[in-house]
């Protein structure tokens, strides 16, 4: 716990406020910022490169701007980073073989659960609770309960 907090302290303090040149064109700059928020800082505790103060995060922010300025598309930049850092670097997990379970899981669970509920309702409709007459024994027990209070009071 303490080490976790120490780690947090080291890489989760100030938001990214290091100086780097911003792109002149506001639309491109906005693209750079949005993309920066999608890319995970690989040495931090779930921060994006836009929000992290780590050296590598700064480098990646600069690199993103360079590539945007050079005309690369968002997807090309993402592919570049994934080729070097793996899928880990994207906050949005890709939809491919290794992540089918992840993406389809919730809805599969929903469907299974819904089927379960449907079966539950069906079964209840099929077995109504039948009231029956009380036996003499149970009758006197009811009388006693009404008069004296619940049975297992100590």
């Amino acid at each position: 716990m303490r080490r976790l907090l120490a780690l947090l302290a080291m890489v989760w303090i100030a938001p990214a406020l290091a100086q780097e040149a911003q792109l002149a064109d506001p639309a491109l700059e906005q693209r750079a910022r949005d993309l920066g928020r999608e890319i995970r800082c690989v040495v931090c505790q779930s921060q994006s490169v836009a929000d992290s103060d780590a050296d590598i995060a700064q480098e990646l922010r600069v690199m993103i701007r360079e590539q945007i300025a050079a005309g690369k598309s968002d997807q090309e930049i993402r592919d570049y980073l994934v080729a070097r850092y793996g899928d880990f670097v994207l906050f949005d997990p890709p939809f491919k073989g290794s992540t089918y379970v992840l993406w389809l899981g919730p809805f599969a669970i929903l469907v299974l659960a819904a089927i379960g509920v449907a079966i539950f309702f069906r079964r209840r409709a099929a077995e109504p609770v039948r009231a029956r007459e009380l036996s003499a024994d149970e009758h006197s027990r009811v009388e006693r309960l009404l008069h004296d209070g619940p049975e297992d009071r100590a």
């Binding site: 040495v43 590598i56 600069v62 080729a83 070097r84």
Partner: protein
Amino acid sequence: MRRLIFLLPIAIVAVLVALFWIGLDPKRDKSALPSALVGKPAPAVDLAGLSDGAPRLTLAQFKGQLVAINFFASWCLPCRAEHPLLKQITAEFGVPVIGIAWKDKPEDSRAFLAELGDPYVATGTDQNGRTGIDFGITGVPETFLIGADGTVVYRFAGPLSPDGLREQLAPAIAEAKQ
């Protein structure tokens, strides 16, 4: 059938506990992000040398032999700590080590090497850091093993330690040599 449904929760919990048990294995290396480049051809390297008249550093020069690349910087404290071990890579395993100074002023890198010794067979300076990102480093120091055919064989993130050298890098070198 109805009874089986009630077994579902405990079954799921059993699976999760097994998962966690495996995950707790102390030998599991949680600290290293596996390099996405292992098995792929190493990125091209074309950097200026450290001193003014020095030749440019390229990876092509070393094609045909097993070589290590060590990313370092004068401002990086763990780099100081691992520095003596770099000579060992060449001395003990016969693997030449290339040094790339990452985001460092050349004069500072030169002073660093003058002070601690120069274990590198060749050096280059990556001032804008782009080559480092090309290799997918997550910081400095990081050491890569490049095979004779130019593919990335292994990546060691963080400062080398005698244990790390012996238990991780050495076997990787041995395997690459086969």
